[in-house]
Symmetry: C2
Subunit: 373 residues, 2 copies
């Protein structure tokens, strides 16, 4: 027993942090339940899968996995830049939006410094803010949408270095037209960076993703291969922003941190625009179906520009939580917002038709069980 020795000396900040997990994965739940889910529609994954070209590229890259990746992500960065019509100096490739959020917070936020987000917005961003000692300042959603004016007002009031918004939003699925986002960028206080999380942008109708100058130092856009490209498992996201900000990631990133197989898959995916069109079509169908299933049970689904629908269970968070638990007990993996008033909803992903069949079969019974209480 090595009892006489003290444990590692953590920094005061790390000592103060809880050992936490922003999300419990479905696999963890499956292990605890001893049973797999029949419908995996809780993590906003793209159940329609990746481009066959991406799968083929990853399979080919597997045998080359003995080589380190290209730490510059050169080919992928250039392909992303071409797809967005910007120069490669405006593109950073990172380990998913989650990883990029951590790097941005690390670069901009020191202990005690304020960061602005919405109450009930992306928990992993909050995890990173806490992890670097930032002070999270939240503003409420307004009518189930993030509130750009309130976010900007809070950023101004707090002199915050960082303000976060997702458009379209997660977990509610709601969105602002591009013009409102442009207005928000124009209102960003001097010295504040707007983190514009566009993970779901490709699911939104035209006129939601704004046309921004990539050299604008006031905003950093975040995109991902996890959603429309159906590659959540490969951990690749990217940021588009002013070149000096993009270059600064070199100070803090894990240079060889992207899998070589992931690089190959993402490169093939960004080139297969037909697949994106197919996925969007399937997602629209599934979103309509989720609305119909809710409606058949007397419930309303919030308008959504994402690959999920927030179904308003019509009562409080405790009730919605019971609905969720009843669905989980029926092997339907779903999640829900964490705070009121958003938590009157459960969030249902655009699953494949056979998954939504299971949802349709189980939903009435889950509601009845929740009502019984």
């Amino acid at each position: 027993m090595p009892a006489p020795f003290t444990a590692a000396r953590f920094t005061d900040l790390v000592d103060s942090l809880p050992a936490t997990v922003p999300f419990v994965g479905p696999e963890t739940q499956e292990r605890a339940r001893g049973r797999t889910f029949r419908a995996r529609i809780g993590a906003n994954e793209n159940a329609f899968g990746p481009s066959p070209d991406a799968v083929a590229a990853m399979r080919a890259a597997a045998a080359e996995a003995w080589k380190y990746c290209d730490p510059e992500n050169h080919d992928l960065r250039h392909a992303i830049a071409a797809a967005h019509g910007v120069a490669p100096e405006h593109v950073f490739v990172g380990e998913g939006i989650d990883g990029i959020l951590g790097l941005v917070v690390r670069m901009l936020i020191g202990p005690g410094q304020p960061v602005v987000s919405s109450l009930g917005a992306y928990p992993t961003f909050n995890f990173h803010v806490a992890g670097f000692g930032g002070r999270l300042v939240t503003v409420p959603y307004r009518d189930d949408r993030e509130d750009p004016e309130a976010l900007i007002a809070a950023a101004r009031h707090e002199s915050a270095s960082l303000v976060y918004i997702a458009n379209p939003d997660n977990p509610m699925g709601t969105w602002w037209p591009a013009a409102d986002i442009v207005r928000m960028v124009d209102a960003v206080p001097d010295g504040t960076l707007l983190l514009l999380d566009e993970a779901y942008a490709e699911f939104a109708p035209d006129g939601v993703a704004p046309d921004l100058d990539p050299s604008d130092p006031r905003v950093l856009r975040l995109r991902t291969f996890s959603k429309v490209h159906g590659l959540a498992g490969i951990r690749v996201g990217y940021a588009i922003g002013a070149a000096p900000l993009i270059r600064s990631f070199d100070k803090v990133r894990n240079h060889f941190g992207i899998s070589r197989i992931s690089q190959a898959g993402a490169l093939a995916a960004i080139r297969d625009s037909d697949h994106v069109v197919r996925v969007r079509r399937e997602v629209v169908k599934a979103r309509t179906r989720i609305g119909a299933i809710a409606q058949a049970n007397g419930l309303v689904t919030l308008p959504s520009a994402t690959n999920f629908g927030a179904v308003d269970c019509g009562r409080d968070g405790a009730y919605a939580r019971r609905v969720l638990q009843a669905l989980v007990a029926r092997d339907v993996f779903v999640r829900m917002p964490g705070v009121a008033p958003l938590d009157r909803c459960i969030r249902i992903g655009c699953g494949r038709p056979e998954e939504l069949d299971i949802l349709a079969e189980e939903f009435a019974a889950a509601l009845a069980e929740a009502a019984a209480g």
Copy 2:
């Protein structure tokens, strides 16, 4: 032009950091040269490749890449634990040793705090120490080996929270017997954590990797799938240590940060011990050949317990650098240590026979060019 707006407000620490790259990748060099390398023996990769089982597992996982990974890395952690005969609570899976080093430094080192390593040891560790504001204290190598006694003395003198050693060593390939490492662990000052980087341990003869109590809070062992398992491209490493330290990674890690395909590949690799035996046999042959090539040119290769050989060019760093440049100009990718007196050597990886054929053909001419230069 958004010139009237200020750039993002970095923390003072990040502002002070250079935008750097610990290693320039061979792909970057190839792009600059406009020509590919004929022998890729500079990054200590495993040219004999991954287990066919791992390749098959990754190919199968590619189609499932639309799912996020299991953020607990459950199956992989359990398999690693079984392979090492420890409980899973002692195993942390991270984004390569590079990623794990960053997390450990972040957890233990605040601005200005001392960290001890060897002068000329792993640059990426130094990158992370600088990245979190740590003060790097180095001790020299002794007879081309890291110096455990000097490292411990420096850790004690500085009251350092962290001291790093690689055994076997990179970039020299030298090593200490297990008994010396055990003696080093026993001498670790109270409150210091020994980071024991064993990236190359599987290439070493028996009696190099010590038998350590996994509950010992004084030491954290690091292993990787990048070397003997031939999976540098998938970014998976792991740490073995005391359960409270292992749990603390949950405070700071990118929970969904390991690719699902990487999880599948690593899981298959750790189960294929026959492949490890095959790779070790090939590496020993290649190491012997590197020594013979050096000897045929009148040079000595340092004893090595790794998958590379440090060839002593017999003069100073400027000369060795010319030898390296002459090899690179002949399409042979190699690297070398960064500081004297280690930099009298060039580091040559255990390539495939056809790669070492190219080395053998080009080496004399490269030496002649360096001598003339």
